[in-house]
Symmetry: C2
C-alpha cells in the first residue's frame, strides 16, 4: 500500500489519473443504464466529461449509442483509466491486462473479493500484485466509484446522482463506503451546497481513502474536505492530506465510525478492517487539525459555516430571539456546544433598553419578545447596537415563529447586513421553511432549531481554534511503524527505573542489593523507613507474590523482609534478580503515566489519574509522541480530576509542571525509539505539591529488542 513499489511511473501521476483521466475505458459496458456497466457511460456524458470514453464489450458493436470495442487491445489508445465492471475472474484478468498495457489506474467495481474472506483476499492480492508490478494503481475492488464533478469524470454507478442531480461546488467527500460517499453529498445538495468530489474507494486494496485524500486535497477549487472512515490503516497518508489541506487553509472534517465496541465489530464484518483504538484516533485527528464528528448530520451541518469564510476569534455567543423560551433553550444549547454566553457592555444594554419594550430582556440572550409582531423594525434597530459591542464572537438569531403580520424580509435583510458589518459567524434557527428560505436567500446559514444551529456553530468554532493551534505547532508526519523484531521483553524494576532515569524521568532513590547485608547497608544509606521489594524480570505483579514490604525500618526489619521475599520466591519458584531497597517517598497524589506503541499510530503516552482503580474507573487521556508540556497540560485539564490539580479544600496545587516534564521525557523516549521501548507503566508516579516535583516509585518497561539496560548500583 506504500508508494515505494511503483518504480516505472510517477506514482502520484497514476493516482491523479483516478480523478483527472484523459480517457476512460469501461470493461463490461452495458446497455442498461441501471447496471454498473451502464451508469458510468450515462454519467460521463451527462456530467460533461470531455475526454475519450471507450465502452468495451465483445458482444456488441454499440453501447448506449457509443462505438464499442471488443477488448482493450482494440482501443485506439491506451486509456488512462479502466473501469472494471465485470465480475470475478474476468475482473482479475481485466486488471492484469490493463496493467500490462500501461493503464494508469483501474477502478474495480466488482465485489466478492477481500470483503468475503481469505479466498477473495487472495484474488484481490493477485490484482494488486499485477498492478504494482506495472506501476498501475487500483481503486477498489468493491467500489461504487469516483465522481469528480469538476471535470465530469464521474466513474460511478451510484443511484444518487440520478436522484439528486449534482451542482459543482467547493466541497469534497471521500469514503470507503459507497453509501457514505453519496449520503453527505445528498445532504449537502439538499442544503443548497455544491459538491465537487464524491468518491468511494471500496476495499482499499491499493488506493486508500487517506491516500486519495492527498490528491483530492490538492484540487485548487476545493474549500472543504469531508471524510468517512471505517478504519485508518495508513495514518501517514491522512497526515499528508491534512498537511496539504492546512497549507491551503482548507478544513478537514472526519466521521470515523467504529467508535463503540458494537460499531467496531460491525466494521470488522463490513471491511475486515482491524479496529483502531478509538481514543488514539481522537488524539491523532486532533493532532493533525482534523475535526472528528459523530454522525452524518454533524459531518455536513457545519459545511455552510466553513464556506462563508468567517475568521472567528473566540467562542462567546450572543443569542437574539423574539421568544424568551428560545433564549433559554439557546443558552442551554450553547453550554452543551461549548459556547459561553458573552457579557454585553452596560452601555450596549442601556441602548438596547431604549429601543426594546420594557418587558424585553437586554441581557444576553436578548429577548425581543412578541413585540416584534407589532414592530418589525425592532430587529433592524437593535442589531447595529449589538454589532458595536466587541463582547461577542458569534451570533444566533432565533425566529421560532413568523409569517403573516411579520416583515420577515426585513429581518433577513437586517440580519444579512449585520453579518456583513460584524464579519462574525452567525447562525439562524428558523423551524418554518418559509422563514428559513428568506434568510437562506440572504446568504445566511439556517438551521431548524437553536440546538442544531449551535451544535453546528460549536463544531465550527472549536475547529477554527484547533486549526489555529495546529498551525502554530505543525505535527510531525508519522512514519509507518516498523514491525518489532520479536516478542517484547520485560525489564525488572531496577532496569526499568534506570532506563526511565536515563530518559530524564525522576525516579525514587533506590539500590538493587544481592543479599540482606547489602539491603541493610542500603537502608542505612537512604535513612529512615524504606520499601524492600523483590526484583525480577519474570514478575510484573510483585505484591501478589508478597514481594512488596513497605515502611520497613531497622536492621532486623530489613533482614526479615529480605528473608520473606527470598522464601516467597523459592515457594513460587521464581528467580530473583535481587532485592530492591527504595526510599519511602510521599506526595500528594498518585497519577498515571504510561506508554505503548500503537500498531498503526505508533508511540502513544497515557496520562491520567492513578491509584487502585485506574482500570475500573479510567480517567485517562492519550497523547501521540512526541509532544510538549503545553499539550500535556491541555490533556490534564480534560481529566475528571482536573479540579484537583489546582488544589481543593485548602490543599496546595500539585506540581503539574513536574508531571508535564516527566510525560514529555517519556514521549521523547518513545518517539525516538532508540531504546527499543514498546511499553511503559509507571505505577505509581507520585506527584507532590507545587515545587516538590514528582517521582516514579515503581515502573515496568518492555523492550522489543530484549536487551537489558545498565544496572543502577
Amino acid at each position: 500500500m506504500t508508494n515505494e513499489t511503483h518504480r516505472t511511473h510517477d506514482p502520484d501521476a497514476a493516482l491523479r489519473a483516478a480523478l483527472y483521466p484523459g480517457s476512460i475505458a469501461i470493461i463490461g459496458a452495458s446497455d442498461n443504464p441501471n447496471k454498473i456497466g451502464g451508469r458510468p457511460l450515462v454519467y460521463l456524458e451527462r456530467f460533461g466529461f470531455t475526454g475519450e470514453v471507450y465502452p468495451v464489450n465483445p458482444s456488441r458493436p454499440l453501447t448506449l449509442g457509443r462505438r464499442t470495442f471488443p477488448d482493450l487491445a482494440s482501443l485506439p489508445q491506451v486509456p488512462d483509466m479502466v473501469i472494471v465492471a465485470v465480475a470475478g475472474q474476468a475482473a482479475v484478468e481485466a486488471v492484469q491486462e490493463a496493467a500490462t498495457r500501461g493503464v494508469k489506474v483501474a477502478l474495480v467495481m466488482a465485489s466478492g473479493f477481500g470483503e468475503t474472506g481469505p479466498a477473495g483476499r487472495a484474488e484481490e492480492q493477485k490484482m494488486v500484485a499485477a498492478a504494482r508490478a506495472a506501476g498501475m494503481r487500483i481503486v477498489g475492488p468493491n467500489t461504487q466509484g469516483l465522481a469528480n464533478f469538476g471535470n465530469g469524470a464521474v466513474a460511478s454507478f451510484s443511484t444518487m446522482f440520478i436522484e439528486t442531480p449534482p451542482a459543482v461546488g467547493p466541497v469534497g467527500v471521500i469514503s470507503q463506503s459507497g453509501a457514505l460517499s453519496v449520503v453527505p453529498y445528498h445532504l449537502l445538495r439538499t442544503r443548497g451546497i455544491g459538491v465537487r468530489h464524491s468518491h468511494a474507494t471500496g476495499n482499499d486494496a491499493d488506493v486508500s481513502v487517506c491516500e486519495l485524500a492527498t490528491v483530492v486535497a490538492e484540487d485548487p477549487e476545493l474549500e472543504l474536505l469531508l471524510l468517512y472512515l471505517e478504519g485508518i490503516p495508513d495514518p501517514w497518508n491522512l497526515a499528508k492530506a491534512a498537511a496539504i489541506a492546512r497549507r491551503r487553509g482548507m478544513p478537514v472534517v472526519a466521521l470515523k465510525s467504529g467508535r463503540t465496541p458494537a460499531g467496531q465489530q460491525a466494521a470488522m464484518s463490513h471491511t475486515g478492517a482491524l479496529a483502531n483504538e478509538d481514543r488514539v484516533v481522537d488524539a491523532f485527528l486532533e493532532q493533525h487539525g482534523i475535526l472528528r464528528v459523530q454522525t452524518v448530520n454533524e459531518l455536513v451541518e457545519s459545511a455552510d459555516l466553513y464556506l462563508k469564510g468567517w475568521r472567528p476569534r473566540g467562542r462567546r455567543l450572543v443569542a437574539i430571539s423574539n421568544s424568551g423560551a428560545v433564549c433559554v433553550l439557546a443558552a442551554d444549547a450553547a453550554t452543551a456546544a461549548g459556547l459561553p454566553m458573552a457579557k454585553l457592555a452596560d452601555d450596549t444594554r442601556a441602548r438596547l433598553g431604549r429601543i426594546l419594550p420594557g418587558f424585553a430582556t437586554t441581557a444576553n440572550p436578548i429577548d425581543i419578545t412578541a413585540a416584534l409582531l407589532t414592530n418589525s423594525n425592532l430587529f433592524g434597530d437593535i442589531l447595529p447596537v449589538i454589532a458595536a459591542d466587541s463582547a461577542a464572537d458569534a451570533f444566533l438569531i432565533g425566529v421560532p415563529v413568523a409569517g403573516a403580520g411579520y416583515d420577515v424580509d426585513a429581518f433577513a435583510r437586517d440580519s444579512a447586513r449585520f453579518a456583513a458589518d460584524t464579519g462574525k459567524p452567525i447562525v439562524v434557527a428558523a423551524p418554518q421553511a418559509s422563514v428559513a428560505a428568506k434568510f437562506t436567500e440572504r446568504g445566511l446559514s439556517v438551521y431548524t432549531t437553536e440546538s442544531d444551529a449551535l451544535r453546528a456553530l460549536g463544531h465550527f468554532l472549536a475547529h477554527c481554534e484547533l486549526i489555529e493551534r495546529v498551525a502554530q505547532r505543525p505535527p510531525p508526519l508519522p512514519v509507518p511503524p516498523s514491525r518489532s523484531a520479536g516478542a517484547p521483553t520485560m525489564l525488572n524494576e531496577a532496569d526499568s527505573l534506570a532506563l526511565l532515569a536515563r530518559a530524564g524521568l525522576p525516579v525514587v532513590q533506590h539500590r538493587l542489593c544481592v543479599d540482606a547485608d547489602q539491603a541493610v547497608a542500603a537502608w542505612r544509606a537512604i535513612g529512615g523507613p524504606v520499601a524492600v521489594k523483590g526484583c525480577s524480570s519474570a514478575v510484573a505483579h510483585k505484591s501478589e507474590l508478597g514481594w512488596v514490604h513497605l515502611k520497613v525500618d531497622g536492621e532486623a526489619a530489613v533482614r526479615a523482609a529480605c528473608a520473606a521475599i527470598d522464601a516467597a520466591a523459592q515457594a513460587a519458584r521464581v528467580p530473583l534478580d535481587g532485592l530492591l531497597v527504595a526510599a519511602m517517598t510521599g506526595g500528594r497524589r498518585e497519577l498515571m503515566l504510561g506508554a505503548r506503541v500503537d500498531p498503526v499510530f505508533g508511540p502513544v503516552v497515557l496520562v491520567g489519574d492513578g491509584g487502585r482503580y485506574v482500570e475500573a474507573m479510567p480517567d485517562v487521556r492519550v497523547l501521540l509522541a512526541p509532544f510538549d508540556e503545553t499539550q500535556v497540560l491541555r490533556e490534564l485539564r480534560r481529566l475528571r480530576i482536573a479540579p484537583l490539580l489546582d488544589g481543593v479544600r485548602g490543599e496546595p496545587p500539585l506540581d503539574v509542571a513536574a508531571f508535564c516534564a516527566a510525560a514529555v521525557a517519556l514521549g521523547r523516549l518513545m518517539a525516538e525509539r532508540a531504546a527499543g521501548v514498546v511499553n511503559v507503566d509507571v505505577n505509581p508516579l507520585m506527584v507532590g505539591a507545587q515545587g516538590e516535583g514528582c517521582v516514579a516509585l515503581d515502573a515496568v518497561v518492555y523492550r522489543a529488542d530484549g536487551s537489558i539496560g545498565e544496572r543502577v548500583a
Copy 2:
C-alpha cells in the same frame, strides 16, 4: 396558585372552561386579523368553534363582520371565557369586571405584568386576587393563548396557525412560552402528525402549565402529551397530570429548559421563575414516569413511535441496511442510544446466508450490500427470516440510497408487512425524501439518518421501560412543602447520631462525656483505640478547630486529647457540649449519604461516592423521598463508582444492601417530616464488605423547629 381559594365554583369546571368554553367574549376585538384582538376571531371561525363568540369593543358596531358589543354588560349571556386583548390598566379592569359578572375563565394576552418587575407583578396579583375572590380562573397574562383544535376553541393569536394549518390529531402540547407551544406543533405537523392541543399559559399567574396539563390529560382523544417547562413551581399538579396520563396509558414527555447555569439565568430573565435544581427535576420527572428530553427535536421526534401503539418488551436492536457503513454507524448510534445489538440465532444466520450473496453480512447488523440494486427481492426474502427470530425487540432499516433501478415500493411494502407481522417497533433511516415518502405512505416511522432514528427509538424504548417501572410502583402525590417555622438549628454530633440511630441508621458506637474521666471510662468500655472529638451544636467543621483526635489509645492519650480539645475550644471561644468518644471503625469505602428539603420538590436524599473530593468531583444521585431499596440500588448503579460496588481487583463486594437500607431509613425520616429534620449530612458513612454492614461515623443534622433530641448516654 392552589385550588383552595376557589370556593364559589367547582374550580375544575372553571379550568375546564379554558379548553371547552361554551361561549367566548373578546375584550378589545380588532378588525385587523393580524392583531391580537383580531386573530382569535378569525381562528374561532376558521377552525370550527360552534359556541357563541362575542366581540367587545365600544368603538364599533361590527368587527370582522360580527356584531360587536360595547362592554361585557351588554352581552346576551355571561360568557364562559373572556379573551382580554386590551393592555395595561384596561386589562386589569376587564379581568375585574369579568370576575364580578361570573365569567369562568379569563385569558389575558396582554404583556407588561409579572415579567417586567415588581410593579407589573403587583398589577398581576391584583387581577389574580379579583379572580380568586369570584372563583374565576386566569390564564396568563402574557399568553399567546390556548388552542383546542378538537372543538375549535382556538383562543390564540399565534401566527403559526396561519402558516402551518392545523390537522386534528392525538398529540397535545402545553408550554408557558408561546413559541414553544407552536414550534413543536409545527414540527409535528411537518412530520404529518395531527395536533389536538397547543396551549401557552404565559406568566402562569394563576393557571400553570402543570395545572392545565391535569385538564388536558383528561381529553379522551389525546394519546401523547408534550410539555415545555421553564420552571416547575407546582410539582403536585404535574404529578397529578402524570397520574391521570398513567391511568389512561398516555405517555408524557417534557422538555424542561434551564438545565445549565446559563439557561437558568436566561429563564430567570424570561419568566422570573426561580431556578429548579436540575438533578432534582431529573429525579422528579423520572419518578412520575415522564421522559425528560433535551431539545425541541427530541420532544417531537419520537411522537410517531408512541402513536403506533407498539408494546416493546426490551431494547435489543436488529439493524438491516443495503450499506455496510450504515450498519457500522447504526451499531455506534445504537450504543449511544442505549440499545444493545441483538444476537441472532445460528439458524437465523444460516437461513440468511442461503438468501444473501456471499459477501453480505448475516450477523447483526445485517448488510444486504449493493446486491439490492440487482435483486430487489432481497428485502422481502430476508425480513420473514428475521421476524421469526425472537432475539430482537426493535428494528432499524437503513436505506441510505435508492431510486432508479431499485424497487423502493417493494422495500416499503415488505417492511410494513414485517412491522405488522412482528408487532415490534421499527424505524427507517432514509435521507432521500423520495425514498422516505414511500415508507411513510406505508405507515412506517422514517428519519433522515440512522442516528436520528435510533435516538428517537432509544428514547421511546427507554420511556416504555420507565412507564412500566412506574406502573409497578406508582409514586406518591407530592404535597406543597410547608414553609419552615424558623431558621434551622444545627444539632451537635451526639444529638445528630442519636436522631439518625432512632430513625434506623447504623451509627458508630460512641459516648458523650462531660470530662476526661468519663472519656477514659468510655475508652475502656469501647476497648482499643478510639476517636476523641469535641462536640458542639455551634461547630459544624470540627477538624478545622483541632477537635478531632483519631486512633487515641491509652489513658494518658485520652486525657491529652481531652485537654487539647478543651484548650482549642477556649482559644476559639466556642462552647463545648461535651467530649465524644467513639470507636474507630474501619470499612472498605466511604460513601456519601445526605438529605435536604428542596423548596419545591420536598425531601430528597443524596447518595454517592464519599471522601474528600465530594464537592470537587461530585459523583452523586438524587432520590425523592420516600423510596425503597430497589430504587437506591438503581441510582447506585448509575454512579461512576458503580464498578467498585461489586469489588474489583480481588476486593470483596461492598455491603450495598446495608447502604440501601440506611438510605431508605433516611428517606423515610425525611418523608415523614416528623422530627422536623431539614438537612442531614452523614460524613463519612463507612461501608464494609458484603455482610459487614455500614456505619455512620459522623453526622450533622439540622432541624427546622430547633428542638434538641435526646442525648445518647
